[in-house]
Amino acid sequence: MSQLPNISLPGPTITPVSQPFWESIQAGHLSLQQCDKCEQWIFYPREHCPHCFHDSLTWKKASGRGLLKTWSVIHRAGHPAWQEHTPYVVGVVALEEGPSLLTHVLIEETSLKHNLKVEIEISEIGPHPLPFFKKQEETK
């Protein structure tokens, strides 16, 4: 786990529906919901499938791997607490399972590449472990 200084960065505002997602992050891995009917994977957490409208979903451990679709190097942060960490990188990762998520990207600016293979790196910001992403290790 990498560590960032404990400042007043805004942590996740967890809901009863998203609780299992954050519990899995706490346990060190990424979990996503999968629809019991159409078998599509879902993100953000919901109580129904936005693809087929079925209402039975199951939390499953996900690969934690994906491709970097786009990114931005932030020089002026949208939230003041992030300003002292600039420049930093945020990006959108298309997970192997299908859904995309926005994340913090732990990759040097010069190594950023479209469709770069990335993997989860759980990082702690204060009391909040968050699914950041880093470059996939060569061996995988």
């Binding site: 960065l9 996740p12 505002t13 998203s18 953000y44 786009t70 002026r76 942060a77 945020v90 990006g91």
Partner: protein, 386 residues
């Protein structure tokens, strides 16, 4: 063949944008804008029986239509809040026409305004799921989202920084003919844009709108009533709307953005081809939005806006008049009222009242509005003839 809408615009009122307002409230700027629009229409407030307002009006996040009605001193028989981000202004126009066609009212005021006081921290109240799944990662605010969109375009299609900078250049150039524009008398060259500070790479400062205080109001009535009006009516000929997502991470592919539906739909409803449009009044909070919107018009293929921009002249006297008021990039963005500025400019042009920036013989305008990150999209075709 889809039905055509029946409304017409008979009055416009727009405040000259200022960087910071002093001693104003959102409600007072709303009232100023409405008074201008009613005067322009040549009607009295007693003629107004419909009201459309934006959400989150500074002093009152809820019961907005009632609060604004009370403040103005009107008692409408139809009122509502339209909540489509930057698409709210254009989204109001067809809703007003629809309410009139439904027989709920005859004359609707659509109004948006924004105060912007010095020292006031502008922080949108982010809500879940964005608050939960974007903000904790260091992503908040529109700059980040539009930077992600721009980077995706550059990576997938090979578009260049110069391609985007040329868009900002034309907006600033057009603003030099609009004394009301926040960047009037402040022209820039492509090199200046490329040399401006990186805010959220790959977005430069001069590719981003300037937040200002201001307001805009538009009066919509039936086509029949419009014929008796003070000005040449501007008719709503077609509208298209599409919403696909909220968070940028959930956006469809960059070649499948919602304008791909809403723009052709508006043209179809207007029985018009894109080649017959004289003014492109396209929502421009960032260069990256204009780029993808041009591609959604079908005038260039996905990924090819750069060549299109290189080969066309976007001035009022050019072969492709685009945002002749300077767009929001040149005029300033008074929050949601910025989206309405594209409607107001279309009315100026179609009435033939655009002065030294008048497009010769302008008959049809395509107006677009965009909210969140190319999430909420509205397109209108406005015409000087029914």
């Amino acid at each position: 063949m889809v039905n055509q809408p029946q409304g017409a615009i008979i009055g416009i009122g727009e405040l000259k944008p200022v960087r910071y307002s002093e001693g104003k409230t959102t409600l007072s700027l709303i009232a100023e804008s409405v008074r201008l629009a009613i005067k322009d229409a040549g009607i009295s407030k007693e003629d107004v029986d419909g009201l459309l307002v934006g959400p989150q009006v500074g002093e009152t996040p809820q019961h907005v239509p009632a609060t604004v009605s009370e403040y103005l001193g009107i008692d409408p028989t139809m009122s509502n809040t339209v909540d489509l981000g930057g698409a709210t202004g254009p989204g109001m126009i067809w809703r007003a026409a629809a309410a009139i066609q439904a027989g709920m009212c005859e004359t609707v005021v659509c109004v948006l305004a924004n105060k912007n006081e010095k020292g006031e921290t502008l922080r949108s109240p982010n809500r879940n799921p964005i608050r939960e799944f974007d903000v904790p990662f260091g992503a908040s605010g529109a700059n980040t989202s539009y930077a992600l969109l721009k980077r995706q375009h550059m990576e997938e299609y090979g578009s260049t920084q110069e391609d985007f900078a040329r868009i900002a250049y034309w907006h600033r150039k057009n603003a030099q003919l609009n004394p009301d524009a926040i960047f009037y008398n402040k022209p820039v060259e492509v090199e200046d844009i490329l040399a401006s500070p990186m805010i959220a790479d790959p977005l430069h400062l001069l590719e981003i709108v300037m937040p200002v205080a201001g307001g805009a109001a538009v009066v919509v009535t039936s086509a029949e009533k419009a014929a008796e009006g003070k000005h040449k009516p501007v008719y709503l000929k077609g509208a298209g709307e599409k919403i696909t997502h909220r968070a940028v991470s959930q956006a469809p592919g960059i070649d499948a953005l919602p304008f791909n539906y809403s723009i052709p739909r508006a043209l179809e409803q207007a029985r018009t081809n894109v080649e017959d449009i004289d003014l492109f009044s396209l929502y421009d909070c960032y260069t990256s939005v204009v780029a993808t919107t041009l591609e959604s018009t079908g005038l260039c293929k996905p990924g090819e806006f750069g060549e299109f921009v290189k080969n066309h002249s976007f001035g009022h006297d050019g072969d492709f008049p685009l945002n002749t008021h300077g767009g929001q990039l040149g005029f300033g963005q008074a929050d949601l009222a910025g989206g309405m500025s594209h409607v107001v400019e279309a009315v100026h042009q179609l009435r033939g009242e655009a002065g030294n920036r008048q497009i010769p013989d302008a008959k049809n305008a395509l107006v677009t509005g965009n909210g969140a990150t190319l999430s909420e999209t509205t397109a209108l075709v406005l015409g000087g003839e029914r």
